[in-house]
Symmetry: C2
Subunit: 216 residues, 2 copies
């Protein structure tokens, strides 16, 4: 066994293996989606994402100066901080905000829904990355019917209840209003997938090739 210890070497060798295995499986990814798809496979070792990841308006995904909203602190903590800084981005998760918890209780809804409303009011042109809560997707689709136009929606919750439906709903809304979106159709996804997609876009925008903040 060859031992790799430098993060950049591990990264390069992983990407080489992923490219080779995609080819073996006869899967071709269009160039503009390649970085995202490969980084999701890198984060999951699951080639199914090459089939389920669905893109709407793939051209407008430059994250310079964007505000990023996540639905979990876990996804937030997985985002590359040096890239955010380099691009002048900021990133928030409002799930633990006391005002959000109170609003959820008052309206008899989930904290994820309340957090999306809270974020949409303050940062209507943000990137919304949802890796956990399908209810957040239904709320975002509803807000889009009322005029919300996010810069990008990343819709990749994982699970068995309302997940497939929530993703189809947001896909429909994003197509209707030509809002850029990356959706992992089906049951699979999660906070690591949300973070991987964001990092792929951030690395690309920042011209960073290796995950300087991963620290294998």
């Amino acid at each position: 066994m060859k031992t790799y210890t430098r993060p950049a070497d591990i990264e390069n060798e992983s990407m080489r293996i992923i490219s080779a295995e995609l080819k073996e499986r006869g899967i071709e990814i269009p160039g503009n989606f390649e970085a995202v798809v490969k980084r999701v496979i890198h984060a999951t070792a699951d080639f199914e994402f090459a089939k389920t990841l669905t893109f709407v308006c793939g051209k407008c995904m430059d994250l310079h100066q964007k505000t990023i909203i996540t639905d979990t602190n876990m996804a937030l903590s997985g985002i590359s901080k040096p890239s955010l800084q380099k691009l002048g981005c900021e990133a928030f998760c409002f799930m633990a905000d006391p005002g959000v918890a109170a609003a959820a209780k008052e309206n008899g809804t989930t904290r994820a829904v309340a957090a999306m409303e809270y974020a949409a009011e303050r940062y209507p042109g943000a990137v919304f990355a949802v890796g956990n809560a399908p209810t957040a997707l239904f709320k975002l689709a509803e807000l889009m019917e009322c005029g919300l136009r996010p810069a990008l929606v990343i819709a990749v919750p994982v699970g068995f209840v309302n997940v497939v439906e929530g993703k189809e709903e947001i896909l429909r809304a994003c197509r209707k209003y030509e809002v850029p979106a990356i959706v992992a159709r089906g049951r699979k996804g999660g906070s690591t997938v949300a973070a991987a997609i964001l990092n792929a876009l951030l690395y690309e925008a920042a011209g960073m090739l290796a995950p300087e903040s991963r620290g294998w």
Copy 2:
């Protein structure tokens, strides 16, 4: 479509679906491992983990009063904080520790290796949960040869380089020294899997059924 909005209802319905689909696939999970396996499937929607999750000394996994070390801040942030508090546990990730970064640079190794050494010195009887860095597993196996006896090793990195080998190495060491372990053999795993395993054990020890902190 029936709409579930209460986290506990979503949780229960998800677990019901997972149980039914495990049965359909003819997979039986021994009772003492069931909570862990189901929560990992819940966190990934991937039934492959029912086959790859491997347990060493499954009886001694009560997490009361334990210190938990993770190899990523992402896994740390995915752990249920109310459960930790209820059980008198504490949890740390030393990846961002300046001393760890300096040690890694000085010794020409990864931050993950340096973080494990740092943690093993201070908390030799901790639960070590590795969801990202195979190099951390090689280091833990080496430290076990020198006498380290963790309370539990959770070995679930994801990836294409050194990952399969690192998991086999720690499995061998844990079997040799009868150290309890939960290993996701193969390529798959990740920070969400590490957090799901910890939460399954924490909920069980704390007598908590629903993930009060997930906030769907």
